[in-house]
């Protein structure tokens, strides 16, 4: 049985301007020790997906349909006190916006220490402060925090965004959750640090069998971190499959366009194939396939019927070009 099973999940936001269809009929699994990279542009629903799985959606959001099974438990049925027990050592989440992730009134050391204490409790071990400190130091070195002995004595406001992000990632490493959700954790960091952290997450997955749900807008980052890749567009799951298939044999026109718009050549060799138009407004999404207004292979049916998710070889695609 997979660690995380999401079935036909739909989420909407109620806003003063109307209902926003943030996620529409999303289905996927993550096995133990597997990583899934979710790729999407702004407004694709990728952050909503991360929040939905950890039950952290804002109050104006509503689960319309579907189920989320984590470790055999339907997360959507749990009370808020029951879900608290799953967060942290069951599901850990690193947010895109690092500045607000830590408690401003406690030193970094206290907050990391709490993470270790919770894990020790879960494992049934007695808490040992000196052992915990050693562990914290070694994890902080792993995430390339300079001068960790000085940093842990500081308060969050004395740190840079990049440092806080690395401390959050370190906290996740200390918790050793079953599912590690990361929402664009490296987007604000430099490429050399990003590469170090991606490598660290891969090591973590291999050593402790942790499953990873990694949200990103960057196809290249997704190909490095994900065993599988899921492509979201305007709240619809467009393509889901093993990384190699999605990268080298993209089926969905949107995935194809996204991959070909990554600059690979030099300007002397030709123009970049660009996708025309812009990402749709989800207050009033296009009918049928939400990519149809920008799609080069548009057919009559595309604007009328939402394509169903069909399996082509080992890949799931939502497109009228396939199946039937």
């Amino acid at each position: 049985m997979a660690l995380l099973e999401v079935k036909e999940l739909s989420v909407v936001y109620r806003t003063p301007f109307g209902i926003v269809n943030a996620l529409n009929d999303v289905t996927f699994n993550i096995d133990r020790g597997e990583s899934l990279a979710v790729v999407g542009e702004s407004g694709s629903g990728k952050s909503t997906l991360a929040l939905a799985v950890s039950r952290l959606l804002p109050p104006n959001a509503r689960y319309v349909s579907g189920s989320i099974m984590f470790d055999g438990i339907n997360i959507l049925r749990l009370s808020s006190s029951e879900i608290k027990r799953i967060r942290g050592t069951g599901i850990f989440m690193v947010f895109q916006e690092p500045a607000t992730s830590l408690n401003p009134v406690f030193k970094v050391k206290d907050q990391l220490m709490e993470a270790v204490r919770i894990r020790y409790e879960k494992e049934g071990n007695a808490f040992d402060e000196s052992k915990a400190i050693n562990e914290i130091m070694s994890v902080l070195r792993d995430v390339r925090i300079p001068d960790p002995e000085l940093i842990i004595e500081r308060y969050p406001h004395q740190l840079s965004g990049g440092q806080i992000q690395r401390i959050m990632i370190a906290m996740g490493l200390l918790m050793r959750p079953k599912l590690y959700i990361a929402d664009e954790p490296t987007s604000a960091l430099d490429v050399t640090v990003q590469a170090q952290i991606l490598k660290l997450l891969r090591d973590l997955k291999r050593e402790y069998g942790i499953s990873i749900l990694f949200i990103t807008h960057d196809m290249a980052v997704a190909s490095i971190i994900g065993d599988s890749i899921m492509v979201l567009y305007a709240g619809q799951l467009m393509e889901l499959g093993p990384t190699k298939s999605v990268i080298y044999e993209p089926r969905h026109p949107y995935t194809q366009a996204l991959l070909s718009s990554i600059p690979k050549i030099s300007k002397d060799e030709g123009k970049l194939p660009a996708i025309g138009g812009t990402v749709p407004n989800l207050l009033n999404p296009p009918t049928g396939c939400r990519f149809h207004p920008r799609c080069p292979y548009k057919m009559d049916i595309c604007s009328k019927v939402i394509p169903s998710l069909v399996k082509v070889d080992n890949t799931y695609v939502r497109c009228h070009l396939y199946g039937q």
Partner: protein
Amino acid sequence: MGSDVIIRTEHLVKVFLAKNYGIINKILGEKPLFVRAVDDVSIEIINGKTTALVGESGSGKTTLGRLLVTLERPTSGRIYFHNIDITNIKGKDLRNIRAKLQMVFQDPYSSLNPMMRIKDIIGEPLRNRGVRDRELNEAVAKIMSEVGLDYSSLATRRPSELSGGQRQRVAIARALITNPEFIVLDEPTSALDASTQAQVLNLLIDLQSRHNLTYLLITHNIAVAKYMSDLVMIMYMGKIVEIGNTSIILKEPLHPYTQALIESVPDINKPELKPPSGESVALLIHQRVVGSTQDAHSEWIYAVKRSHPL
């Protein structure tokens, strides 16, 4: 090269105060701390070409860009534009030179005044130069159509009603309207979605050939640098560490830092990244503030060398 050089700098240095230093600090006998954001940079920018300036945050690339378009004054060193010394240019001469040197900023969500209408944002640089009324409107309409913005539907809108890609087109139009020769593009697509990035890059290349523009493209995205640029400069801790033809540098980088940077860039054809094993840059900036530039620098390079033997 000679006349092919549009901008040349000699030993350019820009030093910033790292921390506020006021009278209290003076009374307490504290020493001011300085950061050398740009540290002895001597470069030549070739006319009509795109030079990419690649580096990580805090490397001083934006500061160098701002120095070249006279938005900052250098602490020492000289800048020449067509062999005219513009380092300490003032008054009317400065205004005239600035029309020729423009900049497109990184974030179109904060670089455009939210209270102004699109046509006023784009027309403002010309207005400041005394152009009015019909002449101004015609110039705005012409430049808007060149960057792919519809004048009739967008001219009276405000930035909040536009998408990211459209906003960046507004910023480009505003930079172009004074008919510049040299434009600094500071991460022009890093705030945009992948599918709109390609549109904006294509537009920039079209405009370059149409107006014979010279670009300095500031970026941390190697793929963008590879696509856009003829020459590339790699900047690290305020210094240019490697400079040359884009195709050669990206294929066979010589400087250990360039090698580490290129190895770290995620690519769909790369199965694994090889990040440098050294300490992060943040430490070095911290150390540099307290004064041991040389030690910190060599330590990092040493660390990089160990994982990437030359």
